[in-house]
């Protein structure tokens, strides 16, 4: 091969890459927080039979799960743009991720909820607990453990998918990489370093999540 690696340019630009990495984390954390909040409502609405809410929830969940993330992002950016609704690249990516996260997490929550055996309700009732107490002390704590792992996966997915920000000119890690490499034409070097940065970020998140789960959950289910 006749390719000489030039690494010094990448190290010079490291602060800008790290700035991009920060934006990546930022947008994915926010997309999870908002996604979880909406997912709770979607899950409740889907399990509930009140018509209009049920339809909205089912529609949301199915569209989110059955179309590409890239499509959602384009839609949020140029699709909404056709209606004169102008989101910044950051907002477009954020809203697409929130939309998708909410759809997937709603199904996770519903599954977690339905996986708690009836026996747990009966046992709680037989001890004289009210419905509220049953949920508060018995059902929700168990449900949270079951959805914890899928939730971390969704978080990692959000980090990886935020890389699509590159396609609407968002300056997260991938976008910054794209910009920096075109200034120097050092494509390979920049993308290698970026791949490593993504790996570190996702591993870091997973390790934190598993440490946290050890602290939170003592008994097994």
């Amino acid at each position: 091969m006749d390719y000489e690696f030039h690494w010094n340019i990448v190290f010079q630009k490291m602060p800008e890459l790290l700035q991009g990495a920060f934006v990546t984390l930022h947008v994915s954390v926010l997309s999870m927080v908002l996604g979880i909040a909406i997912a709770v409502f979607l899950a409740i609405a889907k399990m509930n039979n009140t018509k209009p809410f049920n339809y909205v929830a089912v529609g949301w969940i199915e569209i989110a799960r059955n179309t590409p993330a890239l499509f959602q992002i384009y839609m949020a950016y140029f699709g909404l743009g056709a209606f004169g609704i102008h989101l910044s690249p950051y907002m477009a990516v954020l809203s697409a991720l929130v939309f998708i996260n909410a759809g997937y997490l709603a199904e996770t929550f519903r599954g977690g909820f339905q996986s708690i055996p009836d026996a747990q309700y009966n046992a709680s009732k037989s001890l004289g607990m009210t419905s509220f107490q049953t949920y508060r002390y018995i059902i929700l704590p168990q449900m949270f453990r079951r959805i914890y792992h899928p939730m971390t996966n969704q978080f990692v997915w959000s980090i990886l998918m935020s890389s699509l920000g590159i396609l609407v000119g968002m300056s997260e890690l991938s976008g910054e990489t794209q910009r920096l490499q075109s200034l120097s034409f050092r494509t390979l070097e920049f993308f290698i370093v970026t791949a490593v940065l993504y790996y570190i970020i996702t591993k870091f998140v997973l390790i934190c999540a598993s440490l946290l789960s050890k602290r939170l959950f003592k008994g097994e289910i």
Binding site: D2, Y3, H6, I9, F78, G81, A82, G84, H86, S88, P89, I166, L167, V168, G169, M170, S171, G175, Q178, R179, Q181, S182, L183, S184, F185, R186, T187, L188
Partner: protein, 254 residues
Amino acid sequence: TAQADQLDEVIKRGTLNCGVVLDFPPMGYFDKDNKPAGFDVDYCNDLAAALGVKSNVLNLTWGDRIPSLVSGKTDVVIGSTSDTLERAKSVGFTYPYFVFKFQTISKKGTPINSFADLKNVKVGAALGTTYETEYLAYAEKMGWGKDNYTAFKSENDAYLGLYQGKVDAIISTNTNIATKLQTKEFADYVAGPYVPNYDDVVGLIAKRSEVAWINYLNLFLIHQIRDGNMNKHYNKHFGSDAPADLIQSLRDNK
């Protein structure tokens, strides 16, 4: 015998693999039959004709330009590549074949009289282009910050963003703006001030080590002007004769 260089190879192969960015009208774009067209595409065909080989136009993204050369997928990239010294560490440039000026375009009535007025409006440009760099450098010097700036993945997306009203003005090349202004979609728009003190001088690029090949390409560029091909294509794609100062600066290899 001496090792065959790129020039020999192209002639022997009988095909010129010529990379063009087809996302940058009128230099490169898809016509209504979704076929490649544009000033750069015409240059590819002229070069192939001069070599006496078939022309094979490859559609590149901005990011593909270097890897395609290094890997030998393309022999030359005619892709409006700004000849910065930083990039010249990675790739071999010919003499300039075109000079762009950077300019704003905005809807009529947007209060932009000088470049300094951009401070008050939302500005956009294509990600990773030289004019993006120029604008950002200028904005930083003036202390504007990045808040009113939006990057787009491509030149096309930048125009779409302007058209939809995502931004009030975008920075683009004077040539591109001139062609856009002739379409009915952009009839309501006007070209604005130039980026101060900056000409975007672009060259063809080839493998850095292929000196003889670059030599040949340089001579080709001179002949394009001398034989009038340059002016002919300019006319076809820009609707007027090439300006004298552009011709002159290319002759001077500035």
